[in-house]
Symmetry: C2
Subunit: 248 residues, 2 copies
DNA sequence: TAGTGGTCTAGACCACGTG
DNA sequence: ACGTGGTCTAGACCACTAC
């Protein structure tokens, strides 16, 4: 007999996991913003009425989930989606020598929209609810390379402006974290090879029918809620789309 | 000043990491084969002359690296690349509803070969050294879907036969683990969209020029050494190539 | 020097699986 | 009943950072 894990089982959570969840909740609320230090471990231990070892185990899991980083002698800090981090954690475009580079971005459009059935399902919201839709063109070496059509759940990103999107010097995920305290820790991508549709071909400067990567990506924050979903087309010429799965 | 980590720094490794490496070494030697239990934690603690907590920390890292699994009340076991594991850890083909399935495989050829420059580089061996080359066709729903051209470093897989490859009821990685004690824990893939070359088009039953995923994958075992590298073509019709990055 | 995280100890008790 | 891993304690000392 193989019982599936039930979300709210009868068994109480271990102390360290309770503490982890309380810390995660405080982080989610933006109690400490990215780059700030958490209280020290002895202080947290006292505050939660647990031993340091137990608090450390809670923080261990937050570290494993890329939510905080420890720095010996300094403290424990809320992790930010820095350029470096983005270059190394998720998919990237690499050239033949394996070099990585962040692309330049150009915002094509930014509008309020209503979620169609598929978008709603991917974002975990009701069909017809408000979403922000932005279309984005990324260029590498001056050549348009990636076209993104992105949907964000409007409720989580209230007040976001086109200007913020245009003027950012970070990735969208970096902006989400700095502006809204939402950290994307997990992405799921579905990839296929397609012949370029006419409109996308024009944007990416290829002939219609040229083979392109077509990717549906959904990003999740550490609440497990979807933070964005996007339809992405990638022209893979001199560069390849890279993914690293597994440890280290 | 930012010193890069030097492989053999002056600082001694912490005890738990020494113990981890000794355990990893024993695992690499095949001291305990897949599915077998390691000695109990108190026994290991006594044997290594450390406290249980320290041994547990060593094992924690092995668990995090997918090398062993703990089962409460039973013991700690060498992890195997089971069907389920392969379905959930690395790339897979999913249908519209997100269902996953392992394909049927057909061995097209199996020969000894010499590593060309690119293959040698990917496998971390000398150019011209012996490699095993196998070509494989995977079918889903009776339709040829994936074509793999795989190179293995011959030194690590001495004695492998075409019959073993044909008759296996597991993935190649599963076979590697059961037969040679080599566990692939990390893969790197470079993806692009291409027009199908004539020979591949024939194998995958599409017209030449049809868009295909072209993937160069290298798999690494937990020594960090390459276990295989392959050129893969995928026909993505009803199914998509899925990848999950990040936590959980 | 004081405060931080990093490592380590030597236990305790609990939950689970097996005989 | 017994042995396993899972949790937790209440400290210790070390290495590093900041002042």
């Amino acid at each position: 007999m193989n019982m599936l894990a039930t979300p709210s089982a009868s068994k109480p959570l271990p102390r360290y996991r309770q503490i982890k969840q309380q810390l995660a909740e405080l982080l989610r609320e933006g109690k400490w913003r990215h780059g700030q230090a958490l209280p020290s471990e002895p202080l947290l231990a006292q505050r939660f009425g647990a031993s340091i070892g137990t608090v450390r185990k809670a923080i261990d899991e937050l570290v494993a989930e890329n939510i905080v980083v420890r720095e010996q002698g300094r403290g424990t800090f809320v992790k930010s989606h820095t350029r470096d981090y983005m270059l190394n954690v998720f998919f990237q475009l690499v050239d033949d020598a394996g070099r990585k580079e962040l692309p330049r971005h150009q915002l094509l459009s930014f509008v309020r929209w209503r979620a169609d059935v598929k978008t709603a399902e991917r974002l975990g919201v009701a069909p017809g609810s408000a979403v922000l839709r932005l279309r984005n063109l990324l260029a590498l070496d001056g050549k348009p390379t990636v076209y993104d059509d992105i949907r964000l759940p409007a409720a989580r990103f209230a007040g976001l402006t086109a200007n913020e999107l245009s003027e950012r010097d970070t990735t969208l995920y970096g902006l989400m974290q700095q502006r809204f305290g939402i950290t994307v820790v997990r992405i799921v991508e579905h990839l296929e090879a397609v012949a370029a549709p006419a409109d996308v071909a024009a944007l990416l400067a290829v002939t219609a029918g040229h083979p392109l990567l077509r990717i549906v990506r959904t990003g999740y924050s550490y609440g497990g809620e979807a933070a964005d979903t996007r339809l992405r087309y990638v022209r893979t010429g001199a560069r390849r789309y890279e993914s690293v799965l597994g440890q280290r």
